[in-house]
């Protein structure tokens, strides 16, 4: 018996509902005098619905597995695919790094760096990447920063007084 994606969906649902049901007992009760149902009422209803949905999903996963039979999954991943997964993970890390450095470095520096690294990651030549990064950064700055006066952080350039 192999656990498939379909099973995982069902298991995640059940896990979420257990977490919810563990938290809700700490909520205050509703007020008796005005017949107010407590804040735990609706989350509890949803959690129970989630358990049922999770179980249904598990059942349908087992059924699908029984129907499909066994042994069609190829476990070997091609190097090409591994490379893709690596790039995807790097992309996510890059986004998180971007928001970490967004305020300290400031909008201009962090965005141009982020875009340059991102396009380099996606296989663009460095000088093209630099050009497009500069264009995007400038366009966004003009639209968001200048036209609509949204406070984009100045960061180190601001500290230097530029």
């Amino acid at each position: 018996m192999k656990i498939t994606r379909e099973h995982v969906v069902g298991l995640i649902c059940i896990a979420i509902s257990i977490v919810v049901l563990c938290i809700t007992p700490s909520f205050p009760a509703g007020q008796e005098g005005v017949n107010l149902t407590g804040p735990a009422f609706f989350p509890n209803v949803l959690a129970i619905a989630y358990i049922i949905l999770g179980l249904l999903q598990l059942i349908s996963a087992f059924r699908a597995q029984a129907k499909a039979g066994k042994g069609q999954e190829s476990a070997t991943k091609e190097p090409q695919q591994k490379r893709r997964i690596a790039i995807t993970l790097e992309f996510i890390v890059l986004m998180i790094a971007y928001i970490i450095f967004f305020v300290p470095l400031g909008y201009l520096v962090s965005t141009i760096l982020f875009l340059f690294l991102l396009m380099w990651l996606l296989g663009l030549k460095w000088w093209k990447g630099l050009l497009y990064s500069a264009i995007y950064t400038a366009v966004i700055y003009l639209i968001f920063g200048m036209l609509f006066t949204i406070g984009l952080p100045a960061g180190i350039l601001g500290a230097l007084g530029i």
Partner: protein, 495 residues
């Protein structure tokens, strides 16, 4: 009404409006950039304008982008927006036959006409509906909210269990933050950012935008789009296009009606409208066998319906304050930010604004025609930009767009988290839009249920005995049980 037209054609409305419509062409024509995402991206900008300018931008952008989605659908077999999914079927086949120009011109003219019919229906029906809706109380709104949810999960393709999981997930997310009735912070884990709840715009940008980027990066086909050639086509004259339309006017009328009605259903939008109109056109056609081979009706039906649906989606949004699709879901959020309370009272308290919205919706159709034509001319340049440059652009616009809503880094984090969640949801074929609807409709359902229960001393029966409530409950029961019962019966027949 004339006053309304004068207002909306003043420069400080007209300029952002026209710019947004031009942007809509670009967003719609770019595969991966949906109308919903486009609207989500411009909404932060609109908070700094007068409400009608913001609403004009949203309306205009949605009309142009839903049309422009047909451009890559016709020429590259890639729907520019989900609403153009059905446009691929016959549009691309026509292009293969060298009739791409006729197909895209049909798309343009029929989109405009469909949009116009949808808006006229919106203008004529919604004030009547609004009067009716004024009689609604907590009971009815509770059912209406549930009805909106049920629509989304019943109509979404694929496993209905997964649709429900997605929807209930959205409802659970809506529980995060201060409980309105008691003031108790729920599921906030002592995090200040969570106290006001999870804003659905970053969730949506993440689910639709970033997840698309992740999917494109993760799939090996990196240079699929850069090398796509567009077949040479002979140009279609306006007269030829109009003649074809005249031949199929029944399909146009029928698809406009279907589009508007489906748009008006809470939770169903332009994409579903297009598919249903296509299916209906095929069923009622004299030549159903020609569908899928590059048949004109197969192009006309979906493109008419998806633009007609846009007018339709505004009916429940304006009248009941519940979203007709994800775009109007954002509109409702935006209206609250402008200090407007969507719902039946808008028609009496903000009559001027309603007239202005109607004026914008009508005039937008003329702009669709002009900008759409320019867009078709210019589209070949857009696709010349390398795919990786486009992906980087989507990413940075999504992140900065989320930041701009309330200059919060936390919202940007939400975008990234839901980008990853959205990627995995699509990987397991779980539909994304029910989650958004759950998140948007969750507070409406919960608050109305609990306030209703206060009124009735915790008895549930009055939710069923009020006439309108009873009808809603019945509709809900039918939509919920129709499909399983039909399946059960079908199985009995085959056994």
């Amino acid at each position: 009404m004339i006053q309304a037209f004068i207002t909306v054609f003043s420069p400080n409305v007209l300029i952002p409006w026209a710019l947004a419509m031009a942007l809509g062409i670009f967003i719609g024509a770019m595969p991966g950039l949906t109308a919903t995402m486009g609207v989500a991206l411009i909404v932060p900008l609109t908070f700094h304008m007068q409400p009608i300018a913001g609403l004009a931008m949203i309306l205009g952008l949605s009309f142009t982008s839903i049309f422009a989605g047909d451009i890559p659908a016709t020429f590259m077999r890639v729907p520019g927006t989900p609403a153009s999914g059905a446009a691929v079927l016959d549009g691309f086949e026509m292009n293969k036959k060298g009739k791409g120009s006729l197909a895209i011109m049909l798309d343009l003219y029929c989109s405009t006409l469909g949009g116009l019919i949808g808006v006229v229906l919106l203008i004529t029906i919604s004030p009547v509906l609004a009067k009716f809706a004024l009689q609604f109380t907590h009971f009815e709104y509770f059912w209406l909210g549930l009805l909106g949810l049920s629509m989304s999960s019943v109509i979404t393709k694929g496993s209905s269990i997964k649709g429900l999981i997605s929807m209930a997930g959205g409802l659970l997310l809506a529980m995060i933050g201060i409980d309105v009735s008691t003031g108790y912070p729920r599921f906030t884990f002592e995090n200040i950012n969570l106290i006001s709840g999870i804003n659905f715009i970053p969730v949506m940008i993440g689910l639709f935008g970033i997840s698309q980027v992740i999917r494109d990066i993760a799939s090996a086909s990196q240079d699929t789009l850069s090398g796509a050639a567009v077949a040479e086509t002979s140009r279609a004259s306006p007269r030829e296009v109009l003649r074809v339309m005249g031949r199929h006017k029944r399909v146009i009328a029928q698809s406009s009606l279907i589009g508007t009605l489906i748009g008006a259903l809470p939770g169903a939008g332009a994409d579903i409208a297009a598919w249903v109109a296509y299916g209906f056109a095929k069923k009622t056609s004299k030549h159903p066998e020609l569908f899928g081979t590059g048949y004109e009706e197969g192009v006309i039906a979906p493109t008419t319906a998806n633009n007609a649906a846009l007018g339709g989606t505004w009916i429940p949004a304006l009248v009941f304050g519940i979203p007709g699709d994800t775009i109007t879901a954002i509109v409702l959020g935006a209206m609250l930010m402008y200090g407007l309370k969507p719902g039946p009272l808008v028609f009496t308290n903000n009559k001027e604004l309603i007239n202005q919205i109607f004026a914008v919706a009508l005039s937008s159709q003329v702009f669709v025609l002009i900008l759409g034509f320019l867009g078709i001319k210019a589209f070949s340049y857009f696709f010349k930009a390398p795919r990786n440059v486009v992906l980087a652009g989507i990413t940075v616009f999504s992140l900065i767009g989320a930041y701009a809503i309330r200059t919060s880094i936390f919202d940007v984090l939400i975008v990234i988290i839901f980008g990853i969640i959205g990627y995995f949801m699509e990987k397991v074929e779980m539909p994304l839009s029910p989650l958004i609807l759950g998140l948007v409709l969750g507070p409406m359902i919960e608050d109305n249920l609990r306030i209703g229960l206060i009124k009735t001393d915790n008895r549930f029966l009055p939710f069923l005995t009020r006439p309108i409530s009873a009808v809603f409950a019945l509709i809900l029961a039918v939509t919920f049980f129709y499909e399983p019962i039909r399946k059960l019966l079908a199985r009995k027949h085959t056994d």
